[in-house]
Amino acid sequence: MFACLHAPGNAALLVECARNYSPRIEETSPDTVVFDVLGLGLIFGAPHHIAAEIHRQVGLPANIALASNPDTAVHAARGIKGVTVIPPGQEATMLASLPLYLLGGSPEFAAAMDAWGIRTFGELAVLPRPGIAARLGDEGLYMQRLARGEGDRLLRLQDKPLEFQEEMEPDDPIELLEPLMFLLSHLLHTLCARLSSHALAAHEIHLLLKLERAPDHTATLRLPVPMLDAKVFLKLLQLDLSGRPPQAPVKKIRMRLTPVQARTMQHGLFLPSSPEPEKLEITLARIRNLVGTANVGAPELLDTHRPDSFRRGPLCLAKQPNAPAARSRQGLRRFRPPQSAQVFCTALGHPAKIVSAKAQGRVIAFAGPWRTAGDWWTREAWDWEEWDVEIANGLLLRVHRDCRIEKWFLDGNYD
């Protein structure tokens, strides 16, 4: 079953309306859109209920026709005002009274019809097929099939990339965050409704604020998982803007959501609990505002032998493989940056006494040295001699001597 919308001068609106019902849409002409409504019966019921629902949704004077094939739907929508539902098998009857110019065709076909005095679909439909074939060829037979409502072509789909972008230009520049958030809320709800109608979610939010007498303010929020909650998006934007507010009044807002497939998740009674992604993202945004973006995340070790090398990665909420087996048990508490220390050594070069702001005392036991060096071809080269030392008060320290500058540092204490 196919539906056709026909309204002169409203192509964009017709396409938008059609997208609410089907991803299979053909823009037949600037004023006509035809789309597949197979399956909508499960939601709306009989074809006349589907037609009534589409008519209600369009919101402008448009002709709507439902038929079993696209051509019949297009001709009915162009020729019959209001809502038309053509039951299967009654196409020829319903189209019979339509004027023939709606069929289109070549100038020769139109001239022949004019010469024969054929003015309507019905008059063409009843002509004998052999006579049509002999005089007008394949085009004549094709046009007669269309006039009888027997078209059987497929939709010519246009795979346009979906874009979810909205703009707004307030009458007066906005100076405060609160009214700005009010407008952003409106844009987000609109965009989320559009995403929802396509069964999509967003994983990036791009916000561009054009400012008065100042460079544009941009914000890009990357979400850990696809989400579709306007309230969550609004809260994230609010936290971002409150931490980094625009430097001048806002005169134009442009927002774009990057669409991705929505997340599907199977819940279970016996699965281990994990933070809800939406809630966690807001919590993390609040904490980032508090301690800085660089200080929140999951640590990730770098593929290097340089001591204390890691970077901040995202917290991975997906199921992980089994944890690696423990190789060592001793925990180290690091001093960042390493504390400068004065170390007195024996004649053999072993540490004998440590004096620093963090710890001081006589060394009663030690292990080492462990030599590490690397990156000698860069400016960040290191050449260390590491020792594990126990000082008189029971403190267990890891110290290192930087061989390049001949200085001692406390790395941390075993705890």
Partner: protein, 218 residues
Amino acid sequence: MGPAAILRGQFQAFPGYRQEGVFRWDKRGPTETIGSRVGEIPRGTLTEIAGPASSGRMTFLHALLAAVCAGQEFCALIDAEDAFDPASAAAAGVRLSQVLWVRCGGNVEHALKAADLLAQGGGFGIVALDLAESPARITRRIPLASWFRLRRAVEHTRTAFVSIGQQIYAPSCSTLKIELRWDRTLWRGHIPAKLLRGIGITAQRTRNHQVGQEQFTL
């Protein structure tokens, strides 16, 4: 006489009836715990781990994080003084991609706020607040109301809140208090092939005013 009283009377008339056995009701139910190689800590409550430097606090925390990660749960570590060492944690069996690490750069107030947000957010197996390196003159001034708020945030959840410090800060608030004490350092081999093997500690666990003491090597 109401129906409940009639029913109770019928129970009491039953031979072999023991009143305390029928009508006692334990509202608390069994307590869920996180089991690790260094002992168990209860979920849904506040646990304090205290001790001086080199008394095994960080090793204790690594063991707890590893146990939670092994159960496919997530951990949050609020590191007030930026002292967490990812390499030694990974070596202890902690899956780092499941650990949310918040570095507060020495700001205890930020650490408390972040801990509160994460505890309120829920979903973590453990939320650990590491105040071990923070100056005692600051951590001692944390109001008791803050600790109660944190405990309240994890009550009736599967999240265990663990605070690590130099001393017990909220004795009336924490359900379990573990005080660690360094006993000896264990070395293996001789110079130049000498290795640090571990530290021997004594852990004193106090729960419901019952004190238990155990010694083990970390």
